[in-house]
Symmetry: C2
Subunit: 123 residues, 2 copies
DNA sequence: GCTACCTCTGACGTTAGTGTCAGGTTTCTA
DNA sequence: TAGAAACCTGACACTAACGTCAGAGGTAGC
């Protein structure tokens, strides 16, 4: 498929896909005229990249661990890095859960305050 | 307390604290000479701001919802925004949990591959 | 073969949250 | 009271992941 279709199927912009290629994260075949052509599995790859980005992992780190993620084989130092990212993700989840509690707290009391007309500061 | 102490106690840089003030997120008393002085509760406020930033909420949004977070009173449209942020946080948590599973998967198979010498692609 | 749409490269712009530096004032400690 | 350390404003720098634009060429339906 061409870049536009990949963009549409993954929900990622064409610009972002070219950027991934620039960073070495996503390869493409080229037609004679220079247009990019992607295999089916590029869809999964793009989703994986997006997930890792969302986890706050930089493109340089993703680049380093991608072969390992794809092939399942990795040198010890790469595995160490993966473990490091793992614990950072765990930490992020914990922090977000705490934020969620705070937001809930605020939403409940603000809603109550509005409904009753009586301000009621969150605990 | 002065800005240096607040920075140390919150783990946030002096520069960042001044930036929060610039954005209207964090007020300070000023001494005659112009130095900032913070109350004790500024510590909690800074941590809250950091949490919201970590949840991907922009300073403009934080500014809008901060009075509500602090006082527990909010207009309906602010409460709506809070609910919007809440669901975005929930989504982030879910995505991070999925990422965690993927990382675990990779770590396990890469470790096994290294230990046995037999590459074993992740499922 | 015309038209509309897609794609190419290259380059500069954007946003957010700082880092850093300069040049000057204030506060603390010995 | 001197010197060190902390603080002030203002300004420019930086990073990351793109957005956007220009100008040119490629592709597909009729």
């Amino acid at each position: 498929m061409r870049i536009g279709e990949l963009a549409e199927r993954t929900g990622v912009s064409v610009r972002a896909l070219r950027y991934y290629e620039e960073q070495g994260l996503l390869a493409a075949q080229r037609s004679e005229s220079g247009q990019r052509h992607y295999e089916e599995h590029a869809v999964g790859r793009v989703r994986l990249i997006q997930q890792l980005y969302a986890a706050g992992i930089s493109s340089a780190s993703i680049l380093e661990m991608l072969p390992c993620v794809v092939t399942g084989v990795g040198a010890p130092h790469v595995i160490d890095k993966l473990r490091g990212h793992r614990s950072s993700v765990v930490k992020q989840i914990e922090e977000l859960q705490e934020t969620l509690l705070q937001l809930d707290n605020v939403i409940v009391s603000a809603t109550a305050a509005y409904e009753t007309g009586r301000p009621c500061p969150p605990s």
